[in-house]
Amino acid sequence: MDIESIYSQVEAEIQRVNTPLAWEEFRTKYLGRKGIIAQLTSSISSLPPQERSGFGQQVNALKMKILSLLEAKHRVLSEESEIPQPASCDMAMPGKAQDLGVLHPVTQVVEAICKVFERMGFSVVEGPELETEYNNFTGLNIPLEHPSRDVFDTFYIKSLSADRQACPAGKQAKSQKLLLRSHTSPVQVRVMKSSKPPLAVVVPGRVYRPDAVDASHSFMFHQIEGFMVDTDIRFSDLKGVLELFAKAVFGPQIKMRFRPHFFPFTEPSAEVDISCIICQGKGCSVCGRKGWLEILGSGMIHPNVFKQVGYDPNKYSGFAFGMGVERIAMLKYNINDIRLFFENDLRFLKQF
């Protein structure tokens, strides 16, 4: 075949090259080890010497032409291949991936809150849910006859040894009766008894109270407790730390206020409100037209608590705070019924 006809053949064939596979076949046919160009080149030696140089140049020109055609075609093909082929892949079909599971919204809120405090240097500590009466009450300056010790307000465990008769709560003076902790504060007592200040700790966990279940009450819920103790901790530090917390969890536009309150284990004590996140403080049904939402209780650790754990109240001061996780989650996600958290309807869980 003469070179001219190969030119026209090449021009015609390259038109029909429409896939990467055809491109590769075309390339091999002409430029492969046993391809047409290689055959032409090897035929040079059989030519009379005076024709060799001219023929060689022609073959080279042909090779350059083929290369440029190939290159041009490659560009066209690679552009085309990036365009999806609607016929072969219907993007309305479900994607192919393992569905992710979700963490329970309570866990997510616990993690988010702990993270805020961990960034401030707090450590996360947990404690048992079965507690002694001492850690749950006495160690926290809650007197023996305090109403919260009633069987109406705390779950007690049936005495484990058969000889000890179960008796109503609060009647035995120095018993080590076991109960289900009614708050996370007993971990305060545990940590302070086993470590020395300075301390900054947050305690997440389950707590239990014999409340009849309704849209806003549950006999089991979660709390996060936090406390800090050192030689010179002031009430202003409590305000500063909780301000950082509230803004991190509810947004920088949130306003906060501290209202005097009473808790046996702190003095002075304060309840903390944030401006209503629904109405921005204008007053709505969620905040009861007050413009404020109560989110936690707090205060300076009571000197009697320090005495119980063997700290010198004249040397150390500290603050403590505690909040209900479900309440925070309900406010944050606009959930109106606490029972949803424990029903575990997948249609509920998957929203978070």
Binding site: G101, T107, S123, V124, A200, V201, A212, F235, D237, E243
Partner: protein
């Protein structure tokens, strides 16, 4: 506690609008929870904290208003007793069984009263607080209750038997018809006022119908007393009867107030019902110890609150709140606490008073500077890792109650050897025991979701279970999994549904243990039917099970299999290691050879794979099952398998001639020892 704006103004001049006053009270710790207009007057509803029984009165709240607004308190001076005693009168005898139950009892005899309706102003004031007007005598006792916080009670004197009163514990099954018209059965936990025959009132809670003051009453006995808060609380709980009176006695009433309020009542009865007080009997039991003075350092106020307050300002604030302040040295104040403030015992309590009245809003926000050492919490870190692996594998976290119904364990066939820990005071059967396993709750949760028409329920929970060990109760972190239904995939051939089975658990545990740096787990037959024990090395660390049909029926689950798994995280974590060391990548390429064969169902695949791997050493690197099939092409009793053998050396590139003899050996082992038919 409800209070009206005009009633407060009896005691203190107020130059604030009701709204502004409500705000001030709230920010001083007397949270105003509602403010409404009733009969042209403003009624505040105030939440009083448990430590401030002195604020359960208009006078008490007025004292706070005076302190907050820095206005003087109008005279709270108590009236002087005026008894027109006559010798002819036979005094009423008062007997107190136990002075601990009743530290103070005063009985005033008032004669010749005219019982009738109360004047308008009195009636309206009571009605605005939601208190029904009865007659002038009852209204006056209620008026004194609201004004001073001391509950008073008037008995019809002529209905007392033998002119005597006794404060005593009720006898078992004694009966009393109370003012609300109910007949109540009493017990020795309840303190009563009795005449010589029978109880006539429940002390501190409610009077009796028989001795009620009516239109016909001429002479009364007016009781003002102090009862033990605890016995009043127990009585209230036992009878399920809370009253304005019990509410105050439970929180404590002080002697001075009781006395003052009763003299005030005598005075009102004189002016409004023309009654003459002819005798005043007082029986004092245990007197409260006088509060010691408290030393308060002004510099300590500053140190703790971070606001500068001068000693003189502290002094005037405390004075307005009813404290007596003596100036000691420059910085030190000596403070005497009034009887109505038993909650103030320490310097810190006084500092709180200052903070409250100054306002917490004045305290700046600072950040503490503390040199902290972080606590390690490996368990929490590993739990968090575990949960994240689970959600990555498509499982959803649930949180179920730790208290469950005892029967639920039996229902699932999981009754434990040891009895579960029982709750003394559950509210319902669903709270009987502390669960020793997560599985029962998870099975319930699956049933619930199937009812909501879920096709596929993959859930997990991480929580503590409660074990009743002989040496004492123990809590243990567990991971529970439940799977039910089918997972759907879209493949070339269309939608494929794959029903879950134990291999799903194997896959999940493989991912978990891999991440935890643990060796593969083993699964062995268990004593519990349809279940497998999970072993790590020699130790049993958990259990997986398929619920039996009869259990599914009890749970109301139809046509579905439910798979449950529980692992002790304590045991798992003790074997976990997150340490990693890099193993060099292979330098030389490997060669893979596949073998397809038919294998009898009865032959253990595990054993076969182990034997082949041992046989192929040292060149055989790994065997993988790459295909598995059963079906029409396979004779029954057989399964079809394809395994892929990877040969590799660390020293050189292997050649076909090197591996062929080894591979032949594997093939003959398959046919000779395991009776496999190579295809």
């Amino acid at each position: 506690m409800k209070v009206t704006y005009d009633w407060l103004k009896d005691f203190v001049e107020i130059r604030l609008s009701p709204q502004a006053l409500a705000e001030k009270l709230t920010m001083a710790g007397l949270e105003v929870t509602s403010l409404e207009y009733r009969g042209g007057e403003v009624v505040f509803e105030i939440e009083i904290t448990a430590n401030r029984q002195d604020l359960l009165s208009v006078a008490g709240i007025a004292r706070e208003v005076a302190a907050i607004t820095a206005r003087p308190l109008k005279s709270l001076k108590h009236l002087h007793p005026r008894v027109l005693s006559s010798q002819a009168e036979q005094p009423v005898r008062v007997k107190i069984e136990n002075k601990k139950d009743c530290p103070l009892y005063t009985a005033k005899v008032i004669k010749d009263i005219k019982v009738g309706p109360s004047p308008d102003w009195l009636r309206k004031r009571l009605e605005r607080l939601g208190c029904r007007s009865v007659n002038n005598i009852v209204d006056i006792t209620n008026y004194c209750l609201f004004t001073w916080g001391e509950p008073l009670h008037a008995f019809d004197l002529d209905k007392l038997k033998d002119n005597m009163l006794e404060v005593r514990r009720a006898k078992k099954n004694e009966k009393l018809a109370t003012l609300d018209g109910l007949s109540r059965t009493l017990s020795p936990d309840i303190l009563v006022i009795a005449d010589s025959r029978k109880p006539i009132a429940i002390a501190g809670i409610m009077g009796g119908k028989d001795t009620e003051v009516t239109e016909e009453t001429n002479n009364i006995l007016l009781e003002a007393a102090v009862f033990d808060p605890i016995i009043v609380r127990h009585g209230r709980q036992a009878l399920g009867l809370q009253t304005d009176s019990s509410y105050r006695f439970e929180r404590g009433v002080d002697f001075e107030t009781a006395e003052a309020a009763s003299w005030q009542a005598v005075e009102w009865i004189r002016t409004l019902a023309k009654g003459k007080c002819v005798s005043a009997k007082k029986s004092v039991g245990l007197t409260k110890k006088k509060n010691k003075p408290i030393d308060l350092s002004a510099s300590r106020v500053h140190r703790l609150l971070h606001i500068p307050v001068r000693a003189s300002r502290i002094k005037s604030t405390l004075h307005r709140l009813g404290f007596t302040v003596k100036r000691g040295s420059k910085d030190k104040l000596r403070v005497l606490v009034p009887a109505f403030r038993p909650d103030v015992q320490l310097e810190i309590d006084l500092i709180e008073e200052i903070a409250r009245i100054e306002g917490f809003q004045k305290i700046p926000q600072t950040l503490p500077r503390v040199a902290l050492k972080p606590f390690e919490n490996r368990v929490r870190d590993l739990i968090s890792l575990t949960k994240n692996i689970m959600i990555g594998l498509g499982l959803n976290e649930v949180i179920t109650y730790s208290l469950i119904d005892k029967n639920l364990l039996d229902c699932i066939g999981l009754s434990q050897e040891q009895q579960a820990i029982e709750i003394l005071n559950p509210l319902s059967k669903e709270q009987e025991i502390l669960r020793p396993t997560l599985l029962a709750s998870l099975a319930q949760c699956v049933a619930f979701n199937l009812n909501q028409k879920q096709e596929y329920v993959p859930i997990f929970e991480v929580a503590q279970v409660f074990l009743n060990h002989p040496e004492g109760p123990k809590e243990e972190w567990r991971l529970g999994l439940a799977l039910c239904g089918s997972r759907s995939f879209v493949l070339e051939e269309g939608f494929v549904k794959d029903p879950v089975d134990f291999l799903y658990f194997k896959g999940i545990l493989g991912a978990l243990c891999g991440k935890m740096g643990m060796a593969e787990l083993q699964f062995m037959g268990s004593a519990i039917p349809s279940s497998l024990d999970i072993h790590a090395g020699k130790e049993r660390i958990g259990l997986m099970m398929m619920l039996e049909r009869k259990v599914l029926e009890k749970l109301g689950i139809k046509n579905k299999n439910v798979f449950l798994l529980e692992l002790s995280l304590e045991k798992l974590f003790s074997l976990a290691s997150l340490e990693r060391r890099f193993a060099p990548l292979p330098k030389y390429p490997g060669i893979t050879r596949d073998i397809s064969f038919l294998l009898k169902e009865t032959i253990s695949l595990r054993e076969l794979l182990d034997a082949l791997l041992a046989q192929g050493q040292p060149l055989l690197n790994r065997i993988k099952i790459v295909d598995f099939y059963k079906g029409r092409q396979i004779p029954s009793g057989y399964k079809g398998l394809t395994i892929s053998c990877l040969y590799r050396s660390q020293e050189r590139t292997l050649t076909e001639t090197e591996i062929s003899p080894v591979h032949e050996l594997l093939c003959s082992m398959l046919t000779d020892r395991f009776a496999a038919k190579i295809r």
